[in-house]
């Protein structure tokens, strides 16, 4: 029961686009890790201004000043700019030859902006003017050599647009978090980062030959698995996203470990939460860095995080078992579910280690990164389930025909290989 054609069709948009999308996704995962390091070290406010950095245009901030917490926060901002650039190029690439006009006029607009000496940034007008000028000149030059390739499929083009606006919004949220002193914005910033990673990863997968070569599964065994997996996978992925939002809330409350032990909580299954007990917990805390006092609500939040982890682990174990029983080992869903189970096991271990290490920055950051990978894997498996598993009522020829209709112009047609 193969699910991928032996001879794969060409990647829609070419292998360059596909590889570039993966590069963007990889750098985005690195950026999430760096963001995790920023919060793990408690240095999110080490650069107190935005969009400038200590009054400098951020690209001109002297390397000699990248000390202490500034190093993490500043490199996070620089890498975020890199992701912004990669995402912009990716979005333009998806629009193919249609992007030429946008590049040309965008380049002109940037050059005009540079010539006007940006008045809204009085401290770094020359540096910002130079930055805008360089971007404008590069965009204008690129518009003349931009490849005349056909735009990608409509849904891919609009995913690119969503990624572009997502990365812009993400940058603005990060900046507002700093200048408005609002932890709530930090939570939103962290959650949006996860969704952005999912979006860019999906673009990377959808532009690949492997995805284009997938055909829908219509075996009797696959039919049995279809209904449960098409329901369970998105539900579990949504649950992981909720878990990541809970985790982001815990991190951005800057209260350190609300519960310092694991698997118990203050040596009990359910700790005392009355004000006197919470006061005792706070009095006994040994804070070496700036953390806020813990509250009963924060303790409950960490307990919810633990319970959600149990639910997610159980759910993923069910998915892995279900695919193993009902599909073959060669089926991409079975393999993907096994990877997912491995990731969530690793994540549980890292969560425990985060507590046992008193929230060591590198361990806590690894926990953030693997959490993001769990979400991405869930999203990919969901997309895969909807791509290859169909309920029995849909006939295969019709499905294949529909798949072929949705393929970009010029792309090879998907054929039955059974």
């Amino acid at each position: 029961m193969p699910h991928v054609k032996p001879s794969l069709p060409a990647a829609p948009g070419g292998p360059g686009l596909h590889r570039f999308a993966w590069l963007t996704a990889g750098v985005t995962l690195g950026l999430i890790g760096l963001g995790g390091l920023v919060t793990s070290h408690g240095v999110g406010m080490a650069v107190p201004d935005w969009p400038t950095t200590y009054g400098y245009n951020m690209f001109f901030f002297p390397i000699s000043q990248w000390v202490g917490g500034i190093f993490y926060e500043h490199t996070h901002r620089l890498l975020a700019s890199g992701v912004g650039l990669l995402t912009t190029i990716l979005a333009l690439w998806l629009w193919g030859t249609k992007a030429r006009k946008l590049l040309r006029w965008g380049g002109v607009a940037f050059l005009v902006g540079a010539a006007s000496r940006p008045w809204w940034l009085p401290h770094d007008a020359h540096q910002t003017g130079a930055s805008l000028g360089i971007v404008g000149a590069v965009a204008l030059a690129a518009s003349f050599v931009w490849p005349r390739r056909e735009p990608s499929a409509r849904h891919l083009r609009w995913m690119g647009v969503a990624a572009f606006f997502g990365v812009v919004l993400q940058g603005v949220l990060g900046g507002l978090r700093v200048v408005l002193f609002r932890d709530g914005i930090g939570v939103f910033h962290a959650a949006l980062a996860q969704l952005f990673l999912v979006l860019v990863t999906l673009i990377a997968v959808f532009t690949g030959r492997w995805w284009a070569g997938l055909i829908r599964e219509q075996s009797s065994r696959g039919r049995g698995a279809a209904a449960g997996l098409r329901l369970g996978l998105p539900a579990l992925t949504g649950l992981i996203f909720c878990q990541l939002v809970v985790a982001a809330t815990m991190r951005h409350q800057h209260a350190g470990l609300a519960i310092p032990d694991f698997p118990l909580a203050y040596h009990q299954i359910w700790p005392a939460l009355d004000p006197a007990s919470v006061a005792t917990y706070n009095a006994n805390r040994i804070e070496t860095v700036a953390v806020n006092p813990i509250t009963a609500g924060q303790i409950v939040l960490q307990l919810v995080h633990r319970l959600l982890a149990v639910l997610i682990f159980t759910g993923i174990a069910w998915v892995a078992g279900s695919t193993w029983r009902q599909l073959t080992w060669r089926h991409p869903l079975t393999r993907g579910a096994a990877v997912w189970l491995g990731l969530v096991l690793l994540q549980v271990g890292l969560g425990a280690w985060t507590i046992w290490s008193n929230k060591a920055a590198d361990i806590a950051t690894a926990h953030v990164v693997v959490g993001a990978l769990c979400l991405v894997t869930g999203a990919l498996l969901t997309a895969l389930a909807f791509r290859v598993l169909i309920p029995g009522r849909v006939s295969l020829p019709a499905t294949v025909a529909r798949t072929n209709r949705g393929a970009p112009a010029g792309a090879p047609q998907v054929n039955l290989t059974h």
Binding site: G42, P48, Q65, G68, Y281, I286, T288, P293
Partner: protein, 241 residues
């Protein structure tokens, strides 16, 4: 003219009489129980810029207790004080940054009183007062260059243990208690304190340590006369969880 004189003379007389009958509140705060061992600050030693500024091991002290259990750094305040803050006229309180450590770590000042932060370090810091959001005090975050000019802050509302931190060096912490009257003290190395020239009357006196007794104020009722008043406190050390 007569009325005009009386307008100034009578309040001055009342103030003079009050000062004459004002008394000092003295006392001592001791710790009931044993303090936990001091925490070694590994972060500062690992920092390439701040680490070399220290030859010895740097420790974080949550409880500073002398041989007689006298507890340093306890804030003593009065409730029910009629007087208002004289912070604007009071001399500035200084917070120093030496070797990437705030000195002192426990401070108290009045609303409107200036807090001057100095940076004699060869290292850049940020000075980030992060008040409780419910206090109404303003959160700001300012950078201070090595040996840079002083930075001043004032706080409009009372608050216990308002956190001041450096985001470049996250172990740097200082805690400022803001009071809306001039009658407060911080216990010294032996746990003793003195609040001078308190107007006569009955008060609730509070002793608050950042850690001892769960960080909650321990209170007593006292009456201040011209002879003064005494209030001793015993605060609890860490309890088993």
């Amino acid at each position: 003219m007569k009325m005009y004189s009386r307008f100034f003379v009578v309040p001055a007389l009342i103030a003079g009489l009050q000062a004459a009958s004002a008394g000092d509140i003295t006392g001592k705060v001791t710790l009931n129980g044993n303090p936990p061992p001091d925490q070694v600050n590994d972060l500062i030693k690992a920092d390439p810029n701040c680490g070399p500024l220290h030859k010895d091991v740097v420790k974080i002290q949550f409880y500073v207790v002398d041989a007689n259990k006298g507890l340093k750094d306890t804030i003593i305040t009065l409730k029910g004080v009629a007087g208002k803050s004289t912070g604007e006229a009071a001399p500035a309180v200084v917070l120093d940054q030496t070797g990437c450590i705030y000195t002192p770590t426990i401070l108290a000042l009045q609303t409107g009183q200036k807090l001057v932060v100095k940076n004699p370090d060869p290292v850049m810091h940020t000075v980030h007062p992060a008040p409780n959001p419910d206090s109404g005090n303003k959160e700001v975050n300012k950078s201070q260059m090595p040996n840079g000019p002083d930075i001043s802050f004032t706080f409009a509302n009372p608050e216990r243990f308002l956190k001041i931190k450096c985001d470049v060096h996250p172990w740097m912490l200082s805690w400022v208690t803001v009071v809306d009257n001039p009658y407060f003290a911080i216990t010294g190395a032996d746990g003793s304190f003195k609040i001078a020239n308190v107007p006569p009357g009955k008060y609730t006196i509070e002793a608050t340590h950042r850690k001892a007794s769960g960080g909650k104020p321990v209170t007593k009722e006292i009456e201040v006369t011209a002879a003064g008043a005494t209030a001793d406190f015993s605060l609890d050390g860490p309890k088993a969880q």
